[in-house]
Symmetry: C2
């Protein structure tokens, strides 16, 4: 492996990947309002954590750097699904967010109807991109299966439903863990495990452990940041439920656990996956 740091990996891959996302959607979507609304949120300046994780796992599994572009459509599909989930989450009857990453949220910019459709379009197009990938059919089919399982009503959509219907109810630690696992961790786990599958590996329990840990850690870090900013005071979050200090401890344990899981891994180069954990120490 030539690239050992996750941040270096992103720096080298992101320009091409962002161009790919933009070019592809622009060439495919002819309905102009729909194209504008889909691109508005896709190009809203996200860090592309999930597709970068997918590509990093493929790279750590032995895919050559110069071959990574063959994996862009599946990485892109994961980002399309993530972007759709943000648009629908921001809707008035969901989290009711007027802003996302310093820009007006999709429904504030285009209206609720078009925002629902932009989300529907991104979600459906994700599966089209997977179907059109040049990877072997078995790998593509694994990507369809994992992504639809983890991002659908057995995963992310279930988590979001619990989130909006349990807003006024105090959740137990177990219930909150399930919510976070579904709403946040399942898509991150899908990115990691699909990366391994697409690079030709069987499912590794260590890698699943790593993915679940960082998925949950992701949510905790987010909630700790929001708590520092004085946000989410009335929401079901770990800082509100068990306090900031205990949440920080829980986060550290997850990162340690993820680190130990990667160390046990034999089929993958460990550098990038270990380096990714720095994200939680910032």
């Amino acid at each position: 492996m030539e690239i050992k740091k996750f941040s270096d990996f992103c720096e080298q891959v992101l320009p091409d990947f962002n161009k790919f996302l933009d070019d592809r959607l622009k060439s495919e979507i002819k309905q102009t309002t729909l194209r504008d609304a889909m691109l508005y949120s896709l190009d809203a300046g996200g860090k592309r954590v999930r597709p970068m994780l997918f590509l990093a796992v493929a790279y750590s599994s032995g895919v050559r750097f110069e071959d990574l572009s063959k994996y862009f459509d599946i990485a892109g599909a994961i980002e399309l699904v993530h972007t759709y989930s943000l648009i629908h989450d921001d809707l008035p009857e969901m989290d009711n967010s007027d802003y996302r990453r310093g820009k007006l949220s999709n429904h504030k910019q285009f209206g609720v109807g078009p925002a629902v459709l932009a989300g529907d379009g991104l979600l459906t197009q994700a599966f089209y991109w997977i179907a059109k990938s040049s990877l072997d059919t078995d790998k593509r089919m694994a990507a369809v299966r994992i992504l639809s399982h983890n991002a659908g009503p057995m995963g992310m959509v279930a988590g979001q439903m619990t989130d909006i219907t349990m807003e006024d109810k105090l959740l137990s630690e177990d219930e909150l863990t399930t919510l976070h696992k579904q709403k946040t961790a399942d898509l991150i786990t899908a990115a990691v495990t699909t990366g391994a599958f697409c690079a030709g590996h069987e499912l590794s329990t260590n890698l699943v452990q790593y993915a679940n840990d960082i998925g949950l850690a992701f949510q905790l870090k987010d909630d700790l940041n929001d708590a520092d900013d004085g946000e989410d005071a009335d929401k079901n979050t770990f800082p509100n439920l068990i306090g900031k200090k205990a949440t920080e401890e829980k986060l550290n344990n997850l990162v340690k656990d993820a680190f130990n899981a990667v160390l046990k891994e034999e089929e993958f180069d460990k550098n990038l996956l270990v380096s990714f954990l720095d994200y939680f120490k910032e």
Copy 2:
């Protein structure tokens, strides 16, 4: 072929197929609000035209009647996608329909947020059902590709976006044809062509012609029925644009055209596909 009439085919297949849909969703979806909201619309008494067409094409292509249940998950996926589209179409900022098939629409029963998520869940689960089907990987992948292409932002979602954003603008006959093709015909075409692919055939231009014709005919018949009931007076429909009589003529021509396309078909038994056209004569 033993069964020659489309209505007989539906009568013999529907009880098992409806049971399959219900059992499958109930066993898969654990989040109770989500499961209830998804099942509410899936079990709302639709005629299952699209999955029945899919199964009829498979049967007409030589799949034995007793083997049809192997095709239920892909037929079901098509119905999940259709059901999601109805839930999202009924939303207040889309068509704003309080009722669907005599029952409260999904968002009136469960709220807008849960209805958006029920739709998202049905759409995503459709691809999971395809991925888990026991058919060959190539057939499943063709189903993913066709369905995501025709139901997504290059098809149905684009049509719906045009519909809600052009509501106050008078469309030309060409624009209206494109809208109907995308919004209604593309999913029906997907059902027909996926049926042929899954039964092991290559794409037939006659079958595509047939599918496009009946897809558009479907919309015209619907609009003519609504016009008879005094509905849709201010909407972009053919009865409003060119009058009822010219619309009826257009409908008849489409049905004739579909009939002629089927007659040219050599690889399929013609009985069921021709019999389906009776629907437009009722």
